[in-house]
Symmetry: C2
Subunit: 327 residues, 2 copies
């Protein structure tokens, strides 16, 4: 018979969680971070069952991986690739199986082994619906990416393909696809993997730092494309009070992505892709796209009231571009 956390009781549950945390953590009320003249970046994200994850399409390990990596992506798109700590707040219905909790933390551990950091504390409670609240902490160095840092003349750079995660979700949910076309098994695998195991753009951030030309300062705008490619650019325009002009033909697609243009909607507004969306001085954008294979220039920033358009002057309906408004 499978043990539930109700069977275990809170003390035994915490005991079992000990091995996922910094030594001695569970005996204490707070977590401690030692810093010597460092700035820390802190991020809190919530994942709520049925809103952000569903057990029908993701197992507990995948959910654990995802709740750590989505947080890491926020640190990375702010300039920190040095991830140091996490606190985990966990709400679980009393009939949750221990195995589920263990797998959740296993998934978190796998992500931390890949990207760094350790769980330094947290809290857990029962509740009607599963909920995971993660606070992630990283250290900052010379590059601080902000949505509000874009300037007219900047080039807009994407560090990878978009739409894969949305396709993966559709496949896992057996949704109708945008049109009836053949999809290669390779694309199916990549799409499902991208959805279940998002991979934050840590290599892209490292490349960005390494390839900065001496002639430019460390000023750059950045965010991740977790809410969709267009939505991420909209956020930059809004925070930087500027306009973006995008070139449709410059937005690279997975080599196996269907040709049918109706599929482009998922590239633009699919979401959950976790690429870096940057605006950089021309020279820096060009060295990055040369030095980091998947990085490509997709448009530029100009003066004007916040807006996005295609370079053929076709407008983009920004109102419809935000698939991740939860209320």
């Amino acid at each position: 018979m499978s043990t539930t956390i109700k069977d275990l009781g809170e003390i035994e549950l915490l005991n079992r969680l000990k091995r996922f945390m910094r030594c001695g953590q569970i005996d204490d009320d707070v977590a401690e971070i030692n810093t010597i003249n460092k700035s820390l970046l802190i991020n809190t994200d919530l994942l709520v069952e049925k809103i952000h994850f569903s057990e029908e399409i993701s197992n507990a390990k995948d959910i654990g991986w995802k709740c750590i990596t989505t947080n890491i992506s926020d640190l990375i798109c702010s300039g920190s690739e040095n991830i140091i700590s996490f606190t985990v707040g966990l709400v679980l219905p009393p009939n949750t199986h221990w195995k589920w909790v263990e797998n959740l933390y296993e998934g978190m551990r796998e992500a931390m082994q890949e990207f760094g950091g350790e769980i330094i504390g947290g809290d857990c409670s029962c509740g009607e619906t599963k909920m995971i609240s993660i606070t992630a902490i990283g250290t900052m160095n010379q590059l601080r990416l902000h949505r509000g840092n874009a300037l007219p003349g900047d080039y807009i750079v994407s560090t990878g393909f978009h739409g894969l995660s949305r396709l993966g979700l559709a496949l896992l949910r057996s949704e109708h696809l945008p049109s009836e076309v053949q999809i290669s098994p390779k694309l199916i695998n990549r799409a499902i993997k991208t959805h279940k195991r998002p991979y934050p753009a840590i290599e892209a951030l490292k490349a960005l730092k390494e390839c900065k030309p001496d002639s430019t300062s460390w000023r750059a705008a950045g965010t991740d494309s977790s809410d969709g490619l267009i939505e991420s650019i909209r956020g930059i325009c809004e925070s930087s009070d500027c306009q973006a002009v995008l070139s449709k033909t410059s937005i690279l697609k997975d080599p196996d992505w269907p040709e049918d243009s109706i599929w482009d909607e998922w590239i633009l507004n699919g979401g959950e892709d976790y690429e870096l969306i940057l605006t950089l001085p021309k020279e820096w954008a060009e060295t990055l796209s040369k030095n980091f294979k998947r990085a490509h220039i997709i448009g530029f920033i100009k003066k004007g009231k916040p807006n996005i358009s295609w370079d053929n002057l076709e407008p983009i309906n920004i109102e419809q571009s935000s698939p991740f408004q939860h209320f």
Copy 2:
């Protein structure tokens, strides 16, 4: 007609929350903490509706106050009275009224005005049940209180009365009281206020630091009595691998507390009182109880397997002492 957060939409909701946060915070993915050679203490706590709070007995402002102060209490009982930052993760059903959310943050702001700190970021999402996840950050100085720091020979010190919060809860819920005795209106007011607006022991911590005799080191054990007086001492015994001997007559009661001994159960195991429970070298314990009016010595620590007993050798049933196991 009262506006719900569903009416507002997420963007407008975040806009309205801006004024509760550090300037410019909402345009960004992460929160930043600048430190110069400081150690930080981090604490995460969850408050779930129907588990930790109920709208029938607490309004949104009181809940806001409580979710900040319970976190602060964890920092204080670890040695930090210098509270710097909070992140707030908020899960709300779509039909939640904006006014409720505004009042929640007002209550948080009142607590931060009293104890320090500011909200530096967070996340919000919809969900079936209200849930608040707070991560609090404070800086550490010379005194680091741990549950595991107790040593045989230490005196056990409580920095205030216990049982008031439990009485307040009973009154608010119209529960049967332990026995039918007269309760003074003053006690009723104090009990309800203690339950609705818990006040962390920040003054006691300051006094503790100020009155340390030169002859002792900074070693001291501490926790708060949020889970009950006995449970807090049980935690110290467990983490420090020692025994506690308590003197029933030394445990001070509110001057208006009923004489009937059946009421003592709420003093011992009522919970949510947020006093500091310390174990200190004799000299330090004595100066503290002289210098800080409400501090009083209630027992001592001795060698042996983790256990608590009365000084008349009567045993205390530790198994029944933990009212706050949520699973």
